[in-house]
């Protein structure tokens, strides 16, 4: 499922990105990374990823506008978003996202990404 998949990872923590990208690449996926949510919407348009993984409890507290921009960009290209961290799902501007609560087990996260990729296929 991960072969030839392109995954955009949006997370300001270098450590978290490192772990997730290492795991995804082991499974054959291509990863693109960015530290800032505000850059993510542009990257979605440019690189057309198969799925976006977004840390919603980002250290730099992305603005609602940045999240909304990302949501719109993902919607236009029908790119699913896996949202990490937020407990208050009904408050998330990304109402169509797939949510994984923090702290998560990486095996669980990988399975969720796999499901999303599977559904898309």
């Amino acid at each position: 499922m991960f072969s030839n998949a392109r995954i955009l990872v949006v997370d300001s923590s270098a450590e978290s990105r490192d772990v997730l990208c290492t795991l995804l690449e082991r499974l054959g996926a291509e990863t693109i990374e960015t530290t800032r949510t505000r850059h993510a919407s542009g990257l979605v348009q440019q690189t057309q990823p198969n799925v976006v993984v977004l840390d919603a409890e980002d250290e730099f507290a992305p603005s609602a506008e940045a999240i909304a921009d990302l949501g719109r960009a993902a919607c236009r290209s029908s790119t699913p978003i896996v949202v990490l961290g937020t407990q208050k799902r009904h408050l998330s501007p990304l109402t169509t996202g797939h949510f994984v609560s923090k702290p998560y087990q990486y095996a669980t996260l990988i399975r969720r990404i796999e499901e999303v990729l599977g559904n898309r296929a």
């Binding site: 772990v19 730099f60 507290a61 923090k102 702290p103 998560y104 087990q105």
Partner: protein
């Protein structure tokens, strides 16, 4: 701009004065504070309400608060038990600061937004350098605060005018009552003081103050007093009828059990206990009666006989005075109740904030540990699979080891993070004395810079160290100073994240004239806004998003102050900041004196545990 932060550690979480709030001052949620920031807030007992009250007498959707400009309007949503504002039923009410809202058994205090000044008063008042220099005014009388409160000084008018004398006396009583209760924020102390004042001014034998317990809906005695010589084991019996009358009608009463019958026969009264007079007055606060004050006195049969009839020790003037005192007391009781509720709310908010902040940081660290351990698990799995195959694959083996190593590095870093968090918490929470030893500040600076070099390179920030040549050996706690400097340097590097050509320079300086040593950390990062200059030294306030624990700078300041030093801060938004850790210099004399050889240390048998050491020899 050189700015020196204050030494106190106020727990301030932003500018609360600009947010309307509801404080629960009675009820199961007592102490809870609800900030009113939205245009609509609902009040009810279910969790979908923004103001949720755990009160069975509150309806699911009890009321709502609607923002209109700079105030909120309270609207009852046809609740079962109604909504009350300041004791009166309300269906719709525009709230002002100080309003008490009652939902079920819960009583809430509303504080509104800060009122904007209607005019710039500063423009209308002029302070001139010297009074009297222009218009000829001079000081003709001056009185201290103490003298100003003394109304007992006689003057020629009072001696010939009894009314005036009484008025002065009453005024003095009121003034002293107001003074006496103005400084007390503890209810029990306040009530005791009020009782003392009453006994000072009124010839009562016994007295008590009862406060309303809203939950139990009855008056509860709080303070009891007996004049010396009066039997204290005797219970003070108060008629419920009188109490109900006083509370319901909000009227003070003077009662006497003496017969008004003109045919009263003193001879017959000898076998009776005498006459008891009593005054019972309501404590009327701003909105409601908060309690009652009761005093009584008894006239013995002997005294009655001596005075040939009824002796009225209490009269209407006493009653008026007591009503006035009771009103003052009620206002003070209300203030202490609100203060208590506010303090409780502050404490709960602080505890809540602390728990939330710590949970957030620990959760992030846990996530890091999970990530690192998962990589180690994967790497070990790869290694195990290879060991079961016949062909050795060096590349795969190296990859497996790399994965394990990467994972271990992550686990190790997060171990360090949790250790730092715990140590900062301990350092901040404990009053600890530094353990000074002879040490060199330059060593501390070099260690910290070396430790942070990897982090700086990771985010492409240039970190440099410029030690002073003349730094002497000083006496300080090296571990503590290391922590203090590390926190400041970490912040400086983080401030340069995302800044082009980010630079952090750590330097040391020894000021021989001022006898002060300094460690300076200068960065060209984002800078700090004037509003945040003091706030960043408050715990759990971090401007680093979720990354900062909010403990670093408060801990650093605490450490410097424990050493008799301080932290100074200069900053320009957009240009950068300079933190200076100042340490009073006491160049260690140990450098000049030879160390004692170990064989000369005093054996324990020579130590006299029960004698004071002779310090004069040192």
């Amino acid at each position: 701009m050189l700015w020196q932060p204050e030494t106190s550690f106020p727990l301030i979480y932003g500018d609360r004065s600009k947010v309307a709030s509801l404080f629960v001052i009675q009820g199961r949620d007592q102490g809870t504070r609800f900030q009113l920031e939205e245009s609509v807030h609902t009040v009810g007992r279910t969790q979908n309400n923004s103001v949720r009250l755990h009160d069975t007498e509150v309806s699911r959707a009890h009321a709502e608060l609607l923002r209109r400009g700079d105030c909120y309007v309270l609207r009852d949503l046809k609740s079962s038990n109604g909504t009350y504002v300041n004791g009166r039923p309300a269906t719709e009410h525009e709230l002002v600061s100080g309003d008490q809202l009652q939902f079920g058994k819960s009583l809430l205090l509303y504080t509104g937004f800060v009122e904007e000044a209607g005019e710039n008063v500063a423009d209308k008042v002029d302070i001139v350098p010297r009074a009297g220099s222009d218009d000829g005014s001079r000081i003709v009388a001056a009185l201290s605060h103490h003298d100003g409160s003394d109304w007992s000084l006689s003057d020629e008018n009072s001696s010939s005018n009894p009314w005036l004398a009484r008025a002065r006396s009453n005024l003095q009583i009121m003034y002293r009552t107001a003074l006496a209760i103005s400084h007390t924020m503890d209810i029990d102390q306040l009530l005791a003081r009020i009782m003392d004042m009453i006994f000072e001014w009124v010839d009562a034998d016994r007295g008590c103050i009862m406060l309303k317990d809203i939950e139990k809906n009855k008056l509860v005695p709080k303070v009891r007093r007996h004049r010396r010589g009066v039997r204290t084991e005797e219970k003070i019996t108060i008629s419920k009828t009188i109490l109900d009358y006083v509370v319901e009608r909000n009227e003070g009463v003077l009662t006497s059990n003496a017969r008004d019958d003109e045919r009263w026969d003193p001879a017959q009264s000898i076998v009776k206990l005498g006459v008891r007079e009593a005054i019972c007055v309501p404590m009327q606060g701003r909105y409601d009666v908060v309690g009652v004050i009761y005093i009584d006195t008894s006239t013995t049969p002997q005294r009655m006989l001596m005075n040939q009839g009824t002796v009225n020790q209490f009269n209407e003037e006493h009653l008026r005075l007591m009503i006035a005192i009771a009103h003052q007391a009620a206002l003070a009781v209300e203030d202490t109740s609100y203060y208590k509720a506010l303090v409780q709310a502050e404490r709960l908010a602080a505890v809540g904030q602390t728990i939330a902040s710590l949970s957030h940081h620990i959760k992030n660290i846990l996530q890091g540990v999970r990530g690192g351990s998962y990589l180690i698990e994967l790497g070990l799995g790869d290694h195990d699979r290879m060991s079961h195959t016949e062909e050795a694959n060096e590349e795969a083996a190296a990859k497996a080891v790399d994965t394990i190593r990467k994972g271990w590095g992550i686990v190790e870093r997060n171990q360090e993070r949790i250790s730092t968090l715990v140590m900062d918490m301990l350092t901040f929470s404990k009053e600890r004395e530094p353990e000074p030893v002879p040490a060199n500040l330059n060593d501390i600076g070099a260690e910290v810079v070396e430790l942070m070099q990897a982090r700086a390179e990771e985010i492409e920030v240039q970190l440099t160290w410029q030690p002073a040549d003349n730094m002497p050996i000083m006496s300080f706690d090296p571990e503590a100073l290391h922590r203090a400097l590390l926190n400041v340097v970490t912040n400086a590097i983080d401030a340069c994240d995302d800044v082009e050509n980010g630079q952090v320079t750590v330097s040391s300086e020894f000021d021989e004239a001022g006898k002060v040593a300094r460690l300076t950390v200068a960065d060209n990062g984002l800078g700090i806004t004037p509003d945040d200059l003091e706030a960043i030294f408050n715990i759990f306030i971090s401007r680093k998003g979720g990354r900062g624990t909010g403990l670093g700078l408060p801990v650093s300041r605490k450490i410097m102050e424990e050493h008799g030093g301080q932290i100074l801060l200069e900053s320009q938004p957009g240009e950068g900041s300079t933190f200076t850790l100042e340490l009073p210099a006491s160049p260690q004399q140990a450098e000049e004196e030879p160390a004692q050889p170990a064989s000369q240390s005093m054996p324990s048998s020579d130590v006299q545990l029960d004698a004071q050491p002779d310090l004069s020899s040192h």
